[in-house]
């Protein structure tokens, strides 16, 4: 990406971030409108690599926490983001000279761009999730020892909360409850850290990856075969791995229920075409977490799972999934930092009670190929 983010880059960035959402992260239509307008009014966003910045500079990730549906009704103005950063500066007694992403999947890929545009601060090409996850401590920042405190959350009325507690798990617990009181969503600024730390614990080049991905997908013009080629092309040339198509078919079962504020459930896809006779079950909790055939594990969190609409190749988010949809399920090996053993303690399948251990997609595919004995997979 250039050294600035322009208005015209926003649709690409948003598009790429949908794939990195792994079925979660919320619809970003609104954030796109807001961010494009902010760039039109305030000028392009200075965009820099964390590796190129002075180690003493302070930075913080910004995001929106809460319900995307409520955000679509009670729309933020963007000022809430500036307030969150400013109050964090006051609370921590620092000056924040660069912003970064908390999560690169879904609408929060745009939140820091909006904040950077409105505040004139540069945006670092880094985030803490490398995809979308549900909770505040599900970050490489947390996994490698950065404190989420102080965390500041602000709503559209300018009401704010300040959370400072040693455990990042407690920060998440408290913030998740305060978000209801604040009206369903809040902007947050948290994990203040110096660039020296960002370099070590951040996932880098995630914004440029999302942008590149979006460019290629848009060029694929809603043809799912071309979209798949784009995904393979882009991810194979990144620190993520080569995507694999798990099944193509029809959603024949969809179960969604809410427990503890999480959208849990599963869907079953019945195979068609070269996958006829196969069935794939995909389990989700806000994001797609795991794919299995019967008892056999096919792919698991933190590797990414996308359920693509055959009509256009776009990923379908959990909230918008429909029974009878024709889809492809694609798994993408996660960034190596997300697969690190320390990260797996927070986001591994064991954490969700889904599987004993994380097995990388590549390994699962290899055993799959051995079983298939000479079956040559077509294309992907």
């Amino acid at each position: 990406m250039n050294s600035v983010i322009q208005e015209r880059d926003i649709p690409s960035l948003a598009c790429g971030a949908r794939y990195l959402g792994s079925g979660g992260g919320g619809n970003s239509y609104l954030l796109q409108l807001l961010t494009m307008r902010a760039i039109r009014d305030c000028g392009p966003v200075p965009f820099v690599s964390a590796l190129a910045m002075d180690e003493g500079t302070w930075s913080a990730p910004v995001a929106i926490m809460g319900s995307p549906s409520i955000l679509n009704e009670k729309i933020l103005t963007g000022v809430e983001l500036l307030q969150a950063v400013q109050i964090l500066e006051e609370q921590a007694g620092i000056r924040i000279d660069a912003l970064m992403g908390l999560e690169i999947g879904g609408l929060n890929a745009l939140t820091p761009v909006l904040a950077a545009a409105l505040s004139g601060r540069p945006l670092l090409d880094s985030d803490g999730m490398g995809r979308a996850f549900t909770e505040l401590q599900m970050t490489t920042f947390h996994a490698f020892g950065v404190s989420a405190s102080p965390l500041v959350m602000v709503n559209e009325q300018g009401r704010w909360e300040h959370i400072a507690t040693p455990s990042n798990w407690d920060v998440e617990w408290i913030a998740r409850r305060k978000v209801i009181d604040l009206g369903g969503w809040a902007t947050i600024a948290s994990y203040p850290m110096k660039l020296q730390q960002v370099k070590e614990v951040g996932i880098h080049q995630s914004f440029s990856l999302a942008k590149r991905l979006g460019d290629s997908v848009i060029a694929a013009k809603e043809d799912i075969h071309q979209v798949m080629k784009a995904l393979v092309q882009i991810f194979s040339h990144s620190l993520y791995g080569r995507p694999a198509k798990l099944i193509e078919g029809k959603v024949v079962e969809l179960e969604r229920r809410i427990t503890g504020g999480m959208m849990n459930g599963m869907l079953v896809i019945e195979g068609e075409g070269e996958h006829i006779g196969e069935q794939l079950e995909v389990v989700f909790q806000n994001e797609f977490l795991l794919a299995k055939q019967g008892d056999r594990l096919i792919a698991t969190v933190p590797d990414l799972l996308c359920v693509l609409d055959v009509d256009n190749g776009f990923p379908i988010v959990v909230e918008e999934m429909e029974n009878h949809k024709k889809v492809w399920v694609v798994a993408i090996p996660a960034h190596p930092l997300i697969r690190h053993s320390k990260m797996l303690q927070t986001v591994g399948p064991k954490r969700y009670g889904l599987a004993k251990e994380f097995i990388p997609l590549e390994q699962l595919r290899q055993s799959d190929d051995r079983e298939a004995e000479g079956h040559v997979s077509a294309g992907y």
Partner: protein
């Protein structure tokens, strides 16, 4: 005993039907849809009355499904002069109303746009006091400038207080001749989409008035004093008074009517409906006697709304679809069509264009026109064309099915004579009587419904009790709209939890529908 007339406007034909009180078909007719739409409606109405030959004073109801409002929006013609008021500041200020709407539409509708203080939270708490003084000031400046106002308040699907109060203030200053559209009557959660729908509604109020009054006048001229209803996109009716207030709800009632008509004629509640017209084939899904709805946002005239439309696939295949065969035997099916000119331009009717209908006649699949006029054609190639036509429908059927198991398929629409009695994916192929006017029958037999869509907190009452509460609200709404209490059933229920938020906030949508009560007068509050 009381008769009813049903009229449905399609792209090619306007169909009319007259039913007795037991819903038996007394007469049916098909007229060409006219450019002004209205004269086609009047024509169909007169024809069906003449054919039925029943006592005119015993025609008690007239149901109309029309495309007037859709056309007005798509063509950007005959739109009202509109003011747009959003209640929600300081939230929402960064995204102005009509953002993302095509420029020509925004120019027409975006002359008077205001955002005032007020609105609610998702749990019904007030976000800010309603700025009544500002509303009065706005009303003063609007005097004489607009004839319709759209009011949208943040979280009005949860609490409608601020919208109702705003309507009071506006009416007081602007008088009753200015119509006021309130968003909580129109859409669900999702501010921009609901607001767009409300603005479009405000824009077509006059079109709806003219249409409904013209129809009633035409009926009176025929000596008929019938109670008039308009079809809604969910397959139920609304009184003409309500339709004049909320005309946007008539959008896309056409496909719904034919799906509902197919259900009634076949006696099936769960099936696929294939409606073959002159130019296109619509494939929809019947669930519980109602069309399955799409959960995706629908664009109307380029504006995003959160309307629920029937989940349909439309393919470019109809009775008039033009078939082009090359010398090497390769061929192309449509997508263009001769449309209503089929009976002039089709080969079997003495015309010069090879159509899908000609192919079916040549192969003996159906009898129509003069088969001798297509006897010279190469049957081998025609068979390939026919196979492709059937395949196109089979592919569409496969896409709409929920499971791999075959399902019953109901064929309706004038063009359905093209299709065979056996198709892949179809457990059985049903061709009901009067299949050609299923849409008009759907309009005539429509029920009255009540609906609720809100965000509920399940923590207070628990899931079961909350669902019961929502059902009761929907039933009450249906009764208020004029449904026979004993006949009301819950026809649709959906609860989607809001992700990323504790407290079990869930969006619940319930629809109840019942037969039109012959005794009670429907009231304005739907």
């Amino acid at each position: 005993m009381s008769y009813r007339i049903g009229i449905d406007v399609g792209g090619t034909h306007t169909d009319g039907i007259l039913l007795d009180a037991k819903y038996q078909v007394i007469a049916e007719t098909k007229c060409a849809t006219t450019e002004d739409v209205s004269s086609g409606i009047y024509q169909a109405m007169r024809e069906v009355i003449a054919k039925a030959n029943v006592q005119r004073d015993r025609i008690g109801f007239a149901m109309l499904g029309t495309t007037h409002c859709t056309n007005a929006i798509v063509e950007r013609k005959r739109l009202n002069s509109v003011a747009v008021i959003r209640i929600g500041a300081p939230a929402t200020l960064a995204v102005k109303p009509l953002i993302g709407v095509p420029e020509d539409l925004r120019e027409k509708l975006g002359k008077y746009v205001y955002i005032v203080r007020g609105g609610h939270e998702f749990d019904g708490r007030q976000m800010a006091d309603l700025d009544e003084a500002e509303l009065s000031r706005i009303a003063d400046t609007l005097k004489g400038k607009v004839d319709s106002v759209a009011v949208t308040s943040v979280f009005s699907p949860v609490s409608k207080d601020h919208e109702l109060r705003a309507a009071e203030i506006l009416h007081e200053i602007l008088g009753d001749q200015v119509s006021i559209s309130l968003s909580h009557e129109i859409g669900s959660v999702g501010l921009l989409e609901r607001e767009n729908a409300t603005i479009l509604n405000a824009a077509v109020v006059n079109v709806a008035k003219t249409t409904a009054q013209g129809f009633m006048q035409a009926l009176r001229e025929e000596g008929i004093e019938a109670k008039v209803f308009l079809g809604q996109n969910d397959g139920t009716l609304m009184s003409v008074e309500y339709a004049m207030k909320y005309p946007i709800l008539t959008i896309a009632c056409g496909p719904t009517n034919s799906i509902r008509g197919a259900s009634y004629l076949s006696g099936l509640g769960d099936a696929l409906v294939v409606d073959v017209g002159g130019t296109t084939t619509d494939i929809g899904v019947l669930v519980n006697s109602f069309p399955r709805e799409s959960s995706l946002a629908v664009e109307i005239g380029g504006a995003r709304t959160n309307f629920r439309m029937p989940d349909l696939i439309s393919i470019g295949l109809g009775g008039g679809t033009i078939i082009r065969i090359e010398e090497d035997g390769s061929f192309k099916v449509g997508p263009d069509s001769v449309g209503y000119q089929l009976t002039r331009r089709g080969l079997v009717f003495g015309g010069d264009t090879l159509t899908a209908t000609d192919v079916a006649v040549a192969l003996g699949k159906t009898q129509l026109g003069d088969p001798a006029k297509v006897a010279h054609l190469d049957k081998g190639v025609l068979q390939k064309v026919y196979n492709r036509i059937v395949e196109m429908v089979e592919e569409a059927i496969d896409r709409m099915k929920t499971s791999a198991d075959p399902v019953p398929v109901i064929l309706v629409g004038g063009g359905s004579i093209l299709l065979p009695d056996e198709m892949k994916g179809a457990a059985s192929v049903i061709r009901p009587e009067h299949f050609g006017v299923a849409n008009a029958i759907g309009a005539a037999i429509s029920q009255i419904s009540g609906q609720v869509e809100r965000v509920f907190s399940l923590d207070e009452l628990g899931r079961e009790k909350t669902l019961e509460l929502a059902k009761q609200i929907a039933v009450d709404e249906a009764i208020a709209a004029g449904a026979e209490p004993g006949s009301i059933e819950i026809v649709d229920i959906e609860d989607v939890p809001l992700a990323y938020l504790p407290g079990n906030a869930t969006r619940i949508r319930v629809k109840a529908a019942g037969n039109l009560s012959v005794k009670t007068e429907p009231t304005l509050s739907n």
